[in-house]
């Protein structure tokens, strides 16, 4: 290998010297093994521990008649998560008489994030309601919860989508 054994010189006819052994040992196999182990452990280690996002759902009301805080229409901001990564939003509340204007948005920085930031600059008491359509996927849900963190929106809630909401999406044609 990488060593060259020095020939122990034998004196001419003199005393027979004990053969001087080299004090070096060939470390190559050990190095091989060390790197093999190193590679193995590097590949099997899961470095990044998964991160988590904490969500707290409201406590289920014990009594259906229990009084709940009414949300003011002026504070309400509803985000609808549609299929194909689409987001719709409207301001105010939807009921039989008032049909708010539905807007289309997306998950980019100029999309829903800007809208949320602008909206909160105008009205800091905004409460965001997130309603995910059945065709939306879980990633959309995580993304929109993420937007809440990014924009610093403290008050938001995951709400079930209603039939009126889906009808609104359909009729808007967006």
């Amino acid at each position: 290998m990488a060593e060259i054994q020095q020939q122990a010189d034998s004196g001419k006819g003199g005393k027979k010297r004990a053969k001087k052994m080299s004090t070096k040992i060939d470390m190559t196999p050990m190095v091989d093994l060390a790197f093999l182990l190193l590679t193995f452990f590097m590949l099997t280690t899961t470095f990044a521990k998964p991160k988590v996002m904490q969500i707290s759902m409201p406590v289920k009301p014990k009594d259906e008649t229990e009084e709940q805080n009414e949300l003011k229409a002026s504070d309400a901001f509803t985000i609808l998560l549609g299929e194909n990564d689409k987001i719709y939003y409207y301001e105010g509340l939807l009921d039989a008489t008032t049909k708010p204007q539905l807007q289309l948005s997306n998950y980019s920085a100029d999309g829903i994030r800007k809208t949320l930031v602008d909206r909160r600059a105008q009205r800091p008491t905004t409460v965001v309601m997130i309603k995910a359509d059945d065709k939306a996927n879980y990633k959309n849900m995580v993304d929109i919860l993420d937007e809440m963190t990014i924009t610093g929106q403290k008050k938001y809630a995951l709400v079930d989508i209603t039939k009126e909401d889906t009808d609104l999406i359909k009729s808007s044609g967006l």
């Binding site: 060390a34 099997t44 280690t45 991160k51 969500i55 059945d134 879980y138 849900m141």
Partner: protein, 207 residues
């Protein structure tokens, strides 16, 4: 002029520092390694800006794969065995000590309680071929709630603390399944849980 003899350098080089380094790294990786578990289902989690770590201990994890199948796992073997006994008893299944041991070693599972026994008796290499249907989560046959409550009760009994409940959903999983799982937890008055995500860098919200 005498010829300049090239200085003869021994071709051997001192490998000691390299070996030192290599073994240092080996030791480091050995000590920090948490081997990747061979889970029954591949879940590609979406990313989020949250930098909160998943706790090391006391986690009950509910995985939802892209087909909407639900899997359950716990990181503590005694908790798993106790949950198996409890849920098994409820569905008229009893398990031998060997089956319990096998169950404790499973990283996760997604089978109705009725099918667990036959699955546990399969040799380990044949288990991979079994397509697990997921734990039933519909309102008529809500086994997930049983598992969660049984594991939670055992966790509280042994560790004196309520476990963290983590939902690990695939990015393409559909919302109704995820919502259903959340609803089941809410019905059991478990209102705080974690959504497992990957890390992404936090963009700055400008206005």
């Amino acid at each position: 002029m005498p010829k300049v003899k090239p200085h003869r350098v021994s071709p051997s080089l001192d490998m000691t520092p390299m070996v030192d380094l290599a073994f240092l790294l080996v030791t480091f990786f050995m000590l920090t390694a948490t081997p990747t578990e061979d889970t029954a289902v591949v879940v590609d989690t979406p990313s989020s800006v949250s930098d909160k770590q998943l706790p090391d201990k006391g986690v009950l994890q509910i995985s939802i794969d892209k087909e909407g199948r639900v899997f359950f796992s716990s990181d503590s073997q005694p908790v798993k065995i106790a949950a198996l006994e409890k849920v098994g008893a409820k569905y008229g299944q009893s398990f031998s000590a060997k089956e319990k041991k096998q169950f404790a070693l499973l990283p996760d599972f997604g089978l109705p309680a009725q099918q667990l026994k036959s699955y546990l008796n399969l040799p380990a290499e044949q288990r991979k071929a079994v397509k697990q249907p997921g734990i039933p989560v519909d309102s008529l046959n809500n086994q997930l709630a049983e598992w969660v409550m049984a594991a939670r009760a055992e966790n509280i009994r042994t560790f004196n603390s309520a476990p963290y409940i983590a939902i690990k959903g695939d990015g393409t999983a559909d919302v109704p399944t995820v919502k259903n799982v959340i609803k089941i937890l809410q019905e059991k008055n478990l209102n705080r849980f974690y959504l497992v995500t990957d890390l992404e860098t936090k963009p700055v919200a400008s206005n």
